[in-house]
Symmetry: C2
Subunit: 327 residues, 2 copies
């Protein structure tokens, strides 16, 4: 059987990852990470992506002895909201490029059919196709970063929803009159457990005089406290950082318990930098889920960190193309 | 084309509805409501259900000119939790009968193949198959009563989940440190918007001296205040009752906004006595959903009361049998 290939493109606000992925599944044969530089505009972005993809394909086909006819398409992942039907980018705070027909432009530049889905769906699909979720029948993916996103796969298919915005779990309410979220509402999961929210909660404690080694880690400039600093301080044994991580776990646990009671999945895979907190996060998180969700649903569900920390998105972007082609 | 039939059985804590439903879809050709009387035990319940179903079938087949060979099976709806694979009842507070193999016993008594699903899934399926949700590709059903349940249908199939407990939305958290729920957790949707929770919130105001006509409607016995009394007082113009209904709408709106952001469905159909509150409920409910959910998802979703107030459950129970047979 000759090998076929799919190009994966994972466009983020900071970096864009391009990779060549086997159509039958597997880890990328070749990949490269570029700086996205949203300010250059989408046309230049597409040109660069196409050039990198072309050079990666040349390398892979040369090495494996294939031709361009063995490359079946390109799968694109992009921050949402997206108009999936038209293949067009919506109003994305971190990328811009609103209204740009990213799917057809990349398809045109590469001379290949293309698919488009949002980054959280792609990361979820990547973990299901080649990562922690292989072989599961139903899987929820939760992406934790600047924002919180999610995806749901059942029987190998992503839930897209009526307008392509299913699983926007960062903006589900867990505390009806709680913290103000960037979206203008109160008590969204994202207002507690996104990276910026974790940093904000840590800073609030510091401002009220809590003792901590956090200021020392940022040379006294509290504006530089990030979620990553909080995890580092927690690993170093800092009590306030540990409390912030534990509280994050409880809030995330409430959000994940809601997902367990809603989707009753076989697995929840948690993707993103927050997973670096390891057991400090996952132990209390699983406890909170166990307290709040139905026991039969808790028993049926494992909660794990992703297995593809850097590549779930790009592998999943390619995987979504494969999923749609096989439809 | 000869007509085929399916028996629907909708077992509730108070009443059981038995009906004969056309296999091709349609309203029940014949039906009867029995008192459930859980204390008699499940064996006697099955005997009575089988007798009623037999007599309804005789009537219908006689009238329509068919034979028992035209009856393809029986679909059963029952309060959860259920073991769907084994067809066995779990620990149901309102029914009892824990561990009873309801599916196979009814199948045996009627000499027909049988399906089993929980009452909320059946009501959702009934509204999708023959009610408000006909023709929708994706639909969330929300059942409001003593408890709050739900169901999700996409492409004509119910989401069951890994252990048959998907869409237990009554026990999703909307207020992490809020009201104590019967399940032992704080802030479940059910703790705010179930029938007993609505009555409890109304009584709390009365106990603190709020002016209202509610006491007069229950002859001064506040223990007799129910959600139905609150709706009645609201219709009569009682300001406190209106406030309780408006507050119920806001809490329900938060829960439904979470469903809109999670499933991005074409429709949410709200089933149960609470829908009698009409626009007093649905107007503020839709407003809250509009404030909290993604606008593209809100625009894609209509929120409506069910169209089959008494029969969604029994029609849906029969419909689930049809769905499974066509699988």
């Amino acid at each position: 059987m000759s090998t076929h290939w799919v190009v994966g493109v994972d466009i983020g606000g900071t970096n864009t990852v391009v990779a060549v992925v086997p159509y039958q599944g597997g880890l990328p044969e070749a990949g490269r990470t570029l700086e996205t530089r949203p300010e250059r505009g989408p046309e230049e972005g597409v040109t660069e992506i196409a050039a990198v993809a072309g050079s990666l394909l040349d390398d892979v086909l040369d090495r494996e002895g294939g031709t361009r006819a063995d490359v079946l398409g390109v799968g694109i992942g992009c921050p949402g909201p997206l108009d999936l039907r038209a293949g067009v980018i919506g109003a994305t705070p971190n990328l811009g490029w609103e209204g740009f027909p990213i799917r057809d432009r990349i398809a045109g530049a590469l001379g290949l059919p293309a698919s488009l889905d949002n980054d959280a769906n792609c990361a979820t699909y990547g973990e299901w196709w080649q990562g922690a979720g292989r072989g599961t029948r139903s899987l929820v993916g939760v992406t934790l970063g600047t924002g919180i996103g999610g995806g749901f796969i059942e029987g190998g298919r992503l839930l897209r929803g009526a307008s392509g915005s299913a699983c926007e779990i960062g903006h589900t309410t867990i505390d009806v009159s709680g913290r103000l979220c960037g979206c203008g509402n109160h008590g969204c999961l994202e207002a507690y457990a996104s990276g910026p929210a974790i940093a904000a909660r840590a800073r609030e404690g510091l401002a009220s005089g809590v003792e901590s080694r956090l200021p020392e880690l940022v040379d006294g400039d509290l504006g530089r406290v990030t979620a990553a600093t909080v995890y580092e301080a927690s690993r170093l044994g800092d009590l306030w950082a540990r409390e912030v991580v534990a509280e994050t776990a409880r809030f995330l646990g409430v959000g994940l318990a809601n997902l367990v009671n809603t989707f009753n999945p076989e697995m929840i895979v948690v993707v993103g930098g927050v997973t670096r907190a390891g057991d400090h996060l996952f132990r209390p998180l699983r406890e909170e889920v166990g307290r709040r969700a139905f026991s039969s649903a808790v028993d049926a569900c494992v909660i794990v960190p992703g297995a593809l920390p850097q590549t779930a998105g790009v592998i999943g972007a390619a995987g979504v193309f494969v999923m749609e082609r096989r439809r």
